[in-house]
């Protein structure tokens, strides 16, 4: 079976990361910001896994493990903060936090 070139994998991770960044830049809903951050974490971890698969060694996968856990921590605290904001302000608009209206 033909091998997948590493470049294709890296292009994929770059694309995923860019899409995550796009989510963070475009959307104002805090839930979407969290999702974008998680997508970016995921893309970075995927790049680590691809590197491991190319060059061997468990180091990259350990880093992916750490990335995964940091992403989970981020999602937990972020979701909790979003929920708290929703309860106190009744909206998830990130722009409302800095005082901009619509």
């Amino acid at each position: 079976m033909a091998e997948v070139p590493l470049v294709h994998g890296l292009l994929l991770t770059t694309g995923l990361f860019a899409l995550g960044l796009l989510i963070v830049l475009v959307r104002r809903n805090i839930a979407f910001l969290l999702m974008g951050l998680v997508a970016m974490f995921n893309a970075a971890g995927l790049a680590l896994v691809l590197g491991t698969a190319r060059w061997g060694g468990a180091d990259g996968q350990v880093l992916f493990f750490v990335t995964l856990i940091v992403a989970v921590a981020l999602a937990a605290v972020g979701a909790a903060l979003a929920l708290r904001m929703l309860r106190q302000r009744g909206s998830l608009d990130a722009a409302a936090l800095v005082g901009r209206r619509r």
Binding site: V4, L16, L19, F32, V38, A53, V66, I69, A73, R84
Partner: protein, 165 residues
Amino acid sequence: MTVVFYIAAAIALASTAAVVFTGSPVRALRWLALSLLASAVLAYAVAAPLVAAVALALHLAAMVLAYRLPDGWAMVARERRWRVPRTWVVPGVLVTLVLIELIYVLGVNVGAGSLRATVSAAALGTALAGPYAVTAVLALLLAVTALIAGLHLVRRVPGRDAGDG
């Protein structure tokens, strides 16, 4: 394996792109879940079995939790149309595709094909418990701390939160 890689890659990209253009957070979360699952399958196809399995389990648990948050998503959503079958068709088909891929990848010898080196679960465990022990412990401590912080943040304060939620 190559085919699995490209299909999973396409699904991951498409579903992440769908998050950008989706209106409702609930639907977007569904797309994001699909993207994460596809990339876990992709990691599995590229010879990272243990890590991919951990990622799958963690993401599934996180998604279930996110949908079970007491009042969060119900309030965020404020839409009932997402139960309409039409909005389930595309994600449903893609999820089925990912599932088929996952079963296929689980059946085939892991890491045969695609990129070269396979890291066994034993090697990863040795690395996590040996040279990277401090890193692993710190990461897990971080996760526990974040969960505790999250629980404190979502806890209702009687005086301040009365009447809402």
